[in-house]
C-alpha cells in the first residue's frame, strides 16, 4: 500500500485521470472528493465488500433448496405464469 500524508485541500493523482482530494477534516471524519472517468466505478469499500460477501453466499446455494422454493413460491400464489400484478 502506498501511504501519503495530506492536509486539507491537498490532492493525489492516480494515473492521469483520477484525482482524490481531501476537502475537509472534522474530528475523525474526512470528506474526500473524487474525480474519475465515468466508466470507473467508485464505491465505499464496505458496500463493495458486502456485495462480494453476499455473492459468495449465493454461489453456495444448493439445487435442492430451489425445488422446495418453487413449491413454496407456487403456494404463495405468485406464479410467474400469471404475469405481473400491476398489469
Amino acid at each position: 500500500m502506498l501511504v501519503l500524508t495530506r492536509v486539507k485541500e491537498e490532492a493525489i493523482m492516480i494515473g492521469n485521470d483520477i484525482e482524490i482530494k481531501v476537502l475537509d477534516i472534522r474530528g475523525d471524519r474526512v470528506r474526500i472528493g473524487i474525480v474519475a472517468p465515468t466508466e470507473i466505478a467508485v464505491h465505499r469499500k464496505e458496500v463493495f465488500l458486502a456485495i462480494q460477501k453476499e455473492n459468495l453466499k449465493a454461489s453456495k446455494s444448493g439445487a435442492e433448496g430451489i425445488d422446495g422454493a418453487i413449491q413454496f413460491f407456487r403456494k404463495e400464489g405468485r406464479e410467474s405464469e400469471e404475469g405481473k400484478d400491476n398489469g
Binding site: T38, E39, A41, H43, R44, V47, F48, A50, I51, Q52, K53, E54, N55, L56, K57, A58, S59, S61, G62, A63, E64, G65, I66, D67, G68, A69, I70, Q71, F72, F73, R74, E76, R78, S80, K84, D85, N86
Partner: protein, 193 residues
C-alpha cells in the same frame, strides 16, 4: 434513467440453455462437467461475457443462464469458465412490486447498451434449506445486454436497497428476526402483502 417494473423484460428474454433448440453438429458447444445441474452442453452463442466478472470471482468472465429444471421464476447464472461456480438468480419483477432502479448512462455504456430496452436485470439469490428464507441481493443487481450478450454486476449504494431482501413476505407466525428486520429496513423494496 429510471427502469420501472413495466419496462422490465422478463429475464427469459435472454435465451437460456433450457430452451435452446438441440444444437446441430455445426453449432459450437461448450461442455460443462460437474456443475450443480450435472453435465450440460452450452451453445457458444448463448454465452454472456462479463468483462469485470462477478464481485468476488474475478477469474470467471463467461456465464450462461440456465433455466432450472422445474421451471418457475428461478434460474441459474452458470459460469462457463468454472463449471463448479453458479448462482441462483431470478427476475426481480417476479418477487418485488417496486424494485425501481436508476441506471446511469455510463452503466449502460459499460455493457454497450444505449437504451433500457436492450437490457434485462436479474438479481442473485441466496437459497438456504428453508425456502421461506430465500433472499435477493438488491444492492448488487446484474445487468445483461440481451443482444450483445454482455453483463455486469452493479453496485447500488444510494437507493436504500438491501443485500438480503427476503423474497417472500414474512410468514405468519414466523419468529425469524432476519426477515422482519430486513423487510422493515428496506421497506421500499418489500414484496407487498
Amino acid at each position: 434513467m429510471e427502469k420501472n417494473r413495466d419496462q422490465d423484460a422478463p429475464a427469459q428474454a435472454v435465451p437460456t440453455v433450457a430452451d435452446a433448440a438441440s444444437p446441430d453438429a455445426a453449432t459450437p458447444v461448450v461442455r460443462l462437467e460437474g456443475t450443480r445441474l450435472g453435465d450440460i452442453d452450452v451453445p457458444e452463442d448463448l454465452v454472456i461475457e462479463f468483462p469485470e466478472g462477478i464481485l468476488g470471482f474475478p477469474d470467471s468472465k463467461r456465464y450462461v443462464i440456465v433455466q432450472h429444471p422445474s421451471g418457475g421464476a428461478f434460474q441459474w447464472l452458470q459460469s462457463v469458465d468454472d463449471p463448479g461456480l453458479a448462482f441462483v438468480a431470478g427476475d426481480p419483477a417476479e418477487f418485488f412490486d417496486n424494485y425501481d432502479l436508476t441506471i446511469a448512462p455510463e452503466q449502460l455504456n459499460a455493457i454497450k447498451a444505449t437504451s433500457l430496452e436492450e437490457i434485462v436485470v436479474i438479481v442473485l439469490l441466496v437459497v438456504p434449506q428453508d425456502p421461506k428464507k430465500i433472499t435477493a441481493n438488491l444492492q448488487g443487481p446484474v445487468l445483461i445486454n440481451k443482444n450483445a450478450r454482455i453483463g455486469q454486476q452493479l453496485v447500488i449504494q444510494s437507493q436504500g436497497y438491501s443485500t438480503r431482501q427476503p423474497i417472500f413476505p414474512a410468514t405468519r407466525g414466523d419468529a425469524s428476526k432476519e426477515a422482519a428486520i430486513e423487510a422493515v429496513g428496506s421497506a421500499s423494496a418489500s414484496g407487498g402483502e
